[in-house]
Every structure is written in structure tokens, then in C-alpha cells.
């Protein structure tokens, strides 16, 4: 039996169209809006603080900062080139190793692996992603580097020593070691993103190729990989973004020498490593500002790379001109 058995006024409210009126709604919406704005705020905060922290260095060195190849805090000479070089080279090595392995694993997971194996394998990859950087570094110092120094590098030198890349003294800690450890660290993310991309390829594409009598590999090559090409590139670029920012594991195995050398056996130094190592020892303002400027460069590179990656990945739904 209805209780409102008498005429009731409908309470006046400020808005009529949507069901959001009253103090509770507006307050809650404002609060959540402010929280979402934290994203914009974080961008502004980081950009501003990094810029403010580096303005002395920017004023003093200008664009030469990026091109000078001497990083000598003692002599107050700050050139970012060896660090940029180190970041670029170690990241490229990591990509060269990790991307084929990851895409291959992703193909295995989506098309080849028996069903009972898929979830355990995915779980293993997730566990791999969870291992903190410093633990990789620990393992790198005490297990990987000695093994590289005593077994892998001499082999490389013997067979590929005609290339300048594989010449020179072997210390163990090296650019190559840095690249390898970063490769291990970006394997999980490139694999899982690639897997998502391959899964997004419609089955119709695969069936069309099977219907033509193609072998499994041919189906993958024709119907899947070409369709997913852009997305896979995006996965690789995402991996690059992670590689560029890797700090701890790299610092522990790369040797930390700010020099540009042709050999991959030589020690190197990356943007993130130098900040990690020298930040707390920066005694002068110029030194600290230079480190902040490196942070600015690192931040800028990372953002650009990630924007590129996201654009590539999000346009998998609208593939290029190739239709199967």
C-alpha cells in the first residue's frame, strides 16, 4: 500500500535534465574530477621541477650540453653525449635481443602452445615481470657478468672479433652486459603486449589463410603478422620506452664509465645510471643542475617514445591498407 497517499511536492533542484542534482552529487563529482586532474598536475609538476632544477645548467651550456662528449664532474665539464650514447646503445641491444624472442613467444602462446600450457606460461611471464630491477642487478653482478666474462664474451671475441664491436679488453661489466640485462627485463612487457595484439587479430583472417591450404607458419606470416604489424611495432617501441628508463640493473652491470667506445665489451654509462650514482654526491649547484638536465632529457625521450608506442598500439583496430 503506497505511503505517499497524499499529494507530494517534488523537491526543487537546480538541474532538471540529468539525475545529478543536489549537494551530494556535485560534491562527489568535483572530488573525483580533482583526483583525475592529478594526472595533469603530475605532468606539470614534473616538467616544472625538472626544468627549475636544471636551469643553471641549461643557461650555462645550452645545446652544447647534448653534444659534448665529456662528462667530468671534477673539472665541472658536463656533456651528455656519452650518456645519451650509452642509453641509446644499451636500449638498442636490448630491443634486438628481446623483440624477436618476445614476438616468437607471443606467437607460440597464441597459436602453437597446447591449451593446458598457456595459462601457466602466462603466469610465469607475469612473475618474470614482477622481479624488481635491483634483484636483476644483483644476479647480474654475481652470476651473469662473471659468466659473460669467462665464457660468452671470449667466444664472441674469437668468432666475431673481426668486427670492431667485439674487440678490446673484456671486463665483464660492459655495454653488452647492460643491454642483455635490460633485454631480460623488457621481455615480459613486450611479450604480453604482443600477445594481446596477436589475439586481437580476427580469426577470420586466420581461417581465410587456412582455407587456402597454408601451413601454420604461413598462416601466421600471411594472416597474423602482417595484420598485426603496426601493433607489434608499438609493442617494440613500448619495450624501448621501458629500456630507456631502466636504472638499477643497468647501473650494476654496465661499468659506469662515461665514454663513447666502439666495442661492446667496453664499459658504458646511461642517463638513468649516472643520475642514480652521482645524485647524492653532487656537491655543486652546477653538478646538480646538470643531473637534473639529464633527467629532463630522459623524461623527454621517454614521453616521446611512449606517445609513439601508444599511437601504434591503439591503431591496431584500424589496420593499414593491407587487407588479407
Amino acid at each position: 500500500m503506497p505511503g505517499s497517499s497524499v499529494q507530494a511536492t517534488l523537491r526543487p533542484a537546480s538541474t532538471t535534465r540529468m539525475a545529478r542534482s543536489g549537494l551530494g552529487d556535485r560534491f562527489f563529482q568535483s572530488v573525483t574530477f580533482l583526483a583525475a586532474m592529478a594526472i595533469a598536475l603530475l605532468f606539470i609538476l614534473v616538467a616544472y621541477l625538472l626544468y627549475r632544477g636544471s636551469h643553471l645548467s641549461i643557461e650555462k651550456f645550452g645545446w652544447r650540453f647534448l653534444l659534448t662528449s665529456t662528462w667530468d664532474p671534477v673539472a665541472e665539464q658536463y656533456g651528455a653525449l656519452p650518456l645519451i650514447y650509452g642509453t641509446v646503445v644499451s636500449s638498442l641491444i636490448a630491443l634486438l635481443i628481446a623483440v624477436p624472442l618476445s614476438i616468437g613467444t607471443a606467437i607460440y602462446l597464441t597459436d602453437l602452445a597446447p591449451l593446458w600450457l598457456r595459462q601457466p606460461l602466462v603466469s610465469v611471464i607475469e612473475m618474470l615481470a614482477a622481479v624488481p630491477s635491483v634483484i636483476w642487478g644483483l644476479w647480474g653482478i654475481f652470476v651473469m657478468v662473471p659468466w659473460l666474462r669467462d665464457h660468452a664474451f671470449p667466444l664472441l671475441k674469437r668468432y666475431l672479433g673481426f668486427l670492431p664491436l667485439f674487440q678490446g679488453p673484456i671486463y665483464g661489466v660492459s655495454m653488452l652486459a647492460g643491454g642483455i640485462i635490460v633485454a631480460i627485463m623488457i621481455l615480459p612487457i613486450v611479450t604480453s603486449v604482443s600477445r594481446e595484439i596477436l589475439r586481437a587479430v580476427p580469426d577470420l583472417q586466420r581461417e581465410a589463410a587456412y582455407g587456402l591450404g597454408a601451413t601454420r607458419w604461413e598462416v601466421t606470416r600471411i594472416a597474423v603478422l602482417s595484420y598485426a604489424r603496426r601493433g607489434l611495432m608499438g609493442a617494440a617501441v613500448l619495450g624501448l620506452g621501458r629500456a630507456v628508463g631502466e636504472t638499477m640493473a643497468v647501473t650494476m652491470v654496465i661499468g659506469n664509465r662515461p665514454e663513447i667506445a666502439r666495442s661492446l665489451f667496453a664499459p658504458g654509462y646511461t642517463l638513468a645510471s649516472v643520475i642514480a650514482n652521482e645524485f647524492t654526491e653532487a656537491t655543486t649547484d652546477t653538478y646538480l643542475n646538470a643531473l637534473f638536465e639529464l633527467g629532463l632529457v630522459l623524461m623527454g625521450v621517454t614521453i616521446l617514445v611512449h606517445i609513439l608506442a601508444l599511437i601504434l598500439i591503439k591503431t591496431i583496430a584500424t589496420p593499414g591498407s593491407r587487407h588479407a
Binding site: 539525475a19 614534473v46 624477436p100 618476445s102 613467444t105 612473475m127 621517454t302
Partner: protein
């Protein structure tokens, strides 16, 4: 098609399949290797004093990482204070309010922030907190970690809330319940497990972070008596010990790494247990 070409195609197919299996094996092997070494090197140095004692000075054997373990827990708590409210409420905004036009940008921004190297967050917290107060502190370390958490929790919260069927929102609207109460009591409640999962995953991620703590929390050989003092943390301690030239410290670094990875896996497996729980409930 000649039979020889077919044979070649079949061979190539088998070869490529084998190659892909090899890829999977290679991708999986580092995990096996690292777990093996962690256990082999670390188990030996794990004893009661490891969990209860402070680090001993160089040269003296023994000592532990009690302050680092506690420090990590404290830093995680501080990070959650920053990361969870902002991330959760921001995710609510993206899912329940806002125009799709602007929301696309917020999402994009969050995805990019998720890719920023963690050391940059350390520098931000340094400039924001360490410099004005002229001291390394747990506050700055927690803030740096919290910065990492915000976009992570925001995205996972949004993804989970969007999955809540519109039918529930409609039913609640038809009952004359105000919109904000619907979000709070119905939508968030329905998505509760997924949100907790997202928070635990984020915590697992930041528990292992070292770089942002290098010049915010800074580390401490003793107990911190105040959050405005430098504080020890497990990953920091592992790093310091690992790069030192002392064997005893190396052993302790392995032990610390074992504890750290146990913590991280617990947080991530807690996730898996919760989602398994969800599947069980649904089957009932």
C-alpha cells in the same frame, strides 16, 4: 605445386615452430635461473638475526636487515596514502563522469605517466620535499612511490569499473537513489575485488623500486624514529650491499633479495587468490 616444394614448406613450418618453442624456452629461463640463484645464495644467510637485527658495521659479521624490512612496509603505507585515494577517485571520475572527449586525454596521460622512469619521480620528490625541508625522509620516499601509484591505480580502477554492467546502475537509478550513492554503494561495491587487485598489483610493483628512494628515503643504518628522518628500505639495502666489496654483505644482499622477492610475489599472488575467489563465488 611440386611435391618437393610441399616438402620444403612442411620443413619450414616445422623449423619455425621449433624456433618459436625455443623462444618461449629462452624467455622463461631467466626466471628459473634467478629463482635458483636466489634460493641457493640467499637461504644460507637467512636466519633469525637477519630479521631482527640492524646492519652491523663493516668487518663485523652478522647483523640483519630488520630496519630495511620495516622501512619498506612503512614506505608502502605512505605511498598508499597518496596513491590509492587519488588513483581510485580519479578512476571513478573517468568511468562514471566526464565527457568522452576529455577522458581520452586523461587516459592517455595516465598511460604515459605509467612509462616515466621511476628515478624521475625520485627527482620530483627530491625537489618538492627534500630540498625545502633540507633532509631526506620517509615522507619524500613515500611520496615518490605514491607518484608511481597514482596513474597505475587510476587505470586499473577505471578498467574494473567500466566492467560493472549498466543494468545495475539502471536498477539503482530506477529506485530513485542519488547518482553519487549509486557509485559509492553499488558500483564500487560490485567492483571491490577488482579494485583491491589493482592496488595490490601496484604495491607489488613499488615494493621493489630502488631508484626513486636513492635520494629521498636515502637509507639508514639505524632505526628511524621519525618519518622526517631518512629511512632504510629493502631494495636500497640490497643495492648498497651488492655494490660493496665485502663478501658478508654480498651474502646478506642475496638474503635480502630473497625476502624482497617473497614480499613481491605475495602481493602479486594475493591478487591471483582474490581473482580465483571471485571465480568460485560466481560459480555458486
Amino acid at each position: 605445386m611440386s611435391p618437393r616444394y610441399d616438402q620444403y614448406r612442411r620443413f619450414r613450418n616445422a623449423f619455425m615452430s621449433g624456433l618459436f618453442v625455443l623462444c618461449a624456452v629462452l624467455v622463461v629461463s631467466p626466471l628459473a635461473l634467478i629463482l635458483f640463484h636466489l634460493l641457493r645464495e640467499g637461504i644460507g644467510a637467512l636466519n633469525w638475526s637477519f630479521f631482527t637485527q640492524l646492519p652491523k658495521p663493516v668487518g663485523e659479521a652478522g647483523g640483519g636487515m630488520a630496519n630495511a624490512i620495516v622501512g619498506t612496509v612503512i614506505l608502502l603505507g605512505l605511498a598508499c596514502l597518496v596513491g590509492v585515494p587519488l588513483g581510485l577517485l580519479g578512476g571513478v571520475y573517468l568511468s562514471e563522469y566526464g565527457s568522452e572527449r576529455w577522458n581520452v586525454w586523461i587516459r592517455f596521460g595516465a598511460d604515459i605517466l605509467n612509462g616515466v622512469p621511476s628515478i624521475v619521480w625520485g627527482m620530483t620528490a627530491y625537489a618538492l620535499v627534500v630540498v625545502p625541508f633540507k633532509t631526506f625522509s620517509a615522507y619524500s620516499g613515500g611520496l615518490a612511490l605514491g607518484f608511481i601509484m597514482i596513474p597505475l591505480v587510476l587505470r586499473t580502477t577505471e578498467e574494473v569499473l567500466v566492467l560493472v554492467p549498466g543494468a545495475y546502475r539502471e536498477a539503482a537509478l530506477a529506485l530513485g537513489i542519488p547518482h553519487w550513492k549509486i557509485i559509492l554503494h553499488i558500483v564500487l561495491r560490485t567492483a571491490r575485488k577488482g579494485i583491491i587487485t589493482g592496488v595490490l598489483l601496484a604495491m607489488g610493483r613499488i615494493a621493489g623500486e630502488t631508484a626513486p628512494l636513492l635520494f629521498t628515503a636515502f637509507g639508514n643504518r639505524f632505526w628511524s624514529h621519525h618519518l622526517s628522518e631518512p629511512i632504510a628500505a629493502l631494495p636500497l639495502q640490497i643495492f648498497t650491499y651488492a655494490i660493496s666489496p665485502y663478501d658478508d654483505w654480498h651474502r646478506q644482499a642475496w638474503a635480502g633479495a630473497l625476502v624482497l622477492i617473497f614480499l613481491v610475489f605475495c602481493l602479486s599472488t594475493g591478487v591471483r587468490l582474490l581473482s580465483a575467489d571471485r571465480k568460485k563465488n560466481r560459480a555458486n
